[in-house]
Amino acid sequence: MNFPSPILAADYVGHVVGGWEYVQGAYGLTLVALLAYGAYLFNARKDRS
């Protein structure tokens, strides 16, 4: 990729990797992991009781 300048290129890359959606994605990942584990625990508890 030939960007007009490395600095502008960094700005461009920064908008894709590290942009707003990227950060939201990271939060979403955390949320999904915690929810999934919570659901798994809830199921396991139901089976045991």
């Binding site: 960094a10 890359v13 920064g14």
Partner: protein, 157 residues
């Protein structure tokens, strides 16, 4: 002493030795030498021996040293031991798009090779962020420095 007590004593002794070993790893200063990267001073002190193998170089980007060539695909800058004027410096040639944080006076680690041309050639440029987290000043745009640098370049042309 009963066998039980003696056994306990031996166990405690062995654990103390193990703990001492962990403490030695922690505070024995062995870490000083096991570095992830070399500073420019350390690299230059190597002389010819640093030519060839893949090494990591870490330091501060020297203010005013960031340049890119006419085709705007390559990036060169200098890495110094610290901000002082007398600090040892190494020129770095990078063919990778620098990360978003890259700017003057920031810590960087570059992975590549050094040779007789006295350019450190790298295609892996990493920015070493400090442990400081501050908000932008009032009204300031978080990424303004990048635009300002780009504008500076425009003005120079």
């Amino acid at each position: 002493m009963s066998p039980d007590n003696r056994n306990r004593l031996i166990a405690v002794g062995a654990l103390l030795v193990a703990g001492a070993a962990l403490a030695f790893i922690a505070f024995g200063q062995i870490g000083d030498n096991l570095v992830y990267y070399w500073s420019p001073g350390e690299l230059l002190a190597q002389g010819d021996k640093a030519y060839g193998p893949t090494i990591r170089l870490g330091g501060m980007v020297v203010p005013g040293s960031i340049q890119w060539n006419e085709a705007h695909t390559g990036l060169t800058f200098e890495v110094g031991d610290d901000h002082s004027a007398t600090a040892k410096k190494v020129k770095v040639q990078c063919d990778q798009v620098p990360p978003q944080m890259f700017r003057e006076k920031i810590g960087v680690v570059v992975e590549g090779t050094y040779d007789a041309s006295h350019f450190f050639k790298t295609s892996r440029l990493m920015v070493n962020h400090s442990n400081e987290y501050k908000p932008p000043k009032e009204g300031e745009d978080p990424k303004q420095w990048m635009k300002s640098l780009a504008e500076e370049q425009q003005a120079q042309r």
